[in-house]
């Protein structure tokens, strides 16, 4: 059994330091988190923090995590996506935008494309019915 995560309460490093930038945007009643950079052990807590903020009351009907600008996705970043889906629960629909080897293909390797709704573009993720 893996040891408990030793960094559960590590304060989020500032985006410049962590290697990732997350930009929240309102698109109608949806919230889009545009992620740029590399999602790894060091930077995933930055995304976790933005997801928690986005899901604060009242939660949006749709939360899109846009990984189009992500050039490296490690398992810690994938775990953040799974955690976001769990946190979204029934009140919020979570969608992920991912294309290419670093993100979409990496999610496929571990079968997460079966668990998370992965879309090829932000427009597609926003357009589909909820």
């Amino acid at each position: 059994m893996p040891a408990p995560d030793p960094y559960p309460n590590t304060p989020s490093p500032s985006p410049g330091e962590s290697g990732v930038t997350v930009r929240p945007e309102r698109r109608g009643d949806a919230v889009v988190l545009r992620v740029t950079g590399e999602l790894d052990l060091m930077s995933s807590p930055v995304l976790d923090g933005h997801v928690a903020t986005a899901l604060e009351e009242p939660p949006p009907p749709l939360l899109v995590i846009d990984l189009s600008g992500v050039s490296f996705l490690a398992s810690s970043g994938m775990a953040s996506l799974v955690a976001a889906q769990q946190a979204a629960g029934e009140s919020t629909t979570l969608r992920v935008v991912a294309t290419g080897r670093a993100t979409a293909r990496a999610l496929e390797v571990v079968g997460l494309d079966q668990q998370l709704p992965v879309h090829a573009s932000l427009e597609e993720a926003l357009a589909e019915g909820r």
């Binding site: 040891a3 290697g19 790894d40 052990l41 490690a74 398992s75 775990a79 080897r101 990496a106």
Partner: protein, 146 residues
Amino acid sequence: MCPDRRPPDARTPELPGGALHRRKAALPRQASELRTELRAWARGLGLTEQICHAIVLATYEAVANVVRHAYPEGTTGMVELHASPLRERVAVTVRDHGRWRAPPAGPEVRSGLGLPLIRALSDRAEFRSAEAGTTVTLIWEVAAPQ
């Protein structure tokens, strides 16, 4: 991205053909630094983008396992990375002096994505634990470098 060679970094060994050896504190920032160095090294070998990405991601996951699981909370140990371009294969070893154990594969996706990634992305992955620590050896079969 891989074929797009970058100017050699001062810390990157002469390529192609050189091995990369690094020893760093097993911390998240150092794991990211190791990844950057390994990426530059793999690019310099002229491998396909697919293999470069597999090497960088699988190795990062092995290093991340050391960061997360090898040493008791509150202590910082070391992680060693060795990457060598052998004849028609790339071999990477990630070594620690702690006591993490490869957790058994299970249905729990939240905590167990690293090892499936390592296994899926490498041609061969071996985990050896001993009193002195754990060594992960990753092998990729590649076309012989020119």
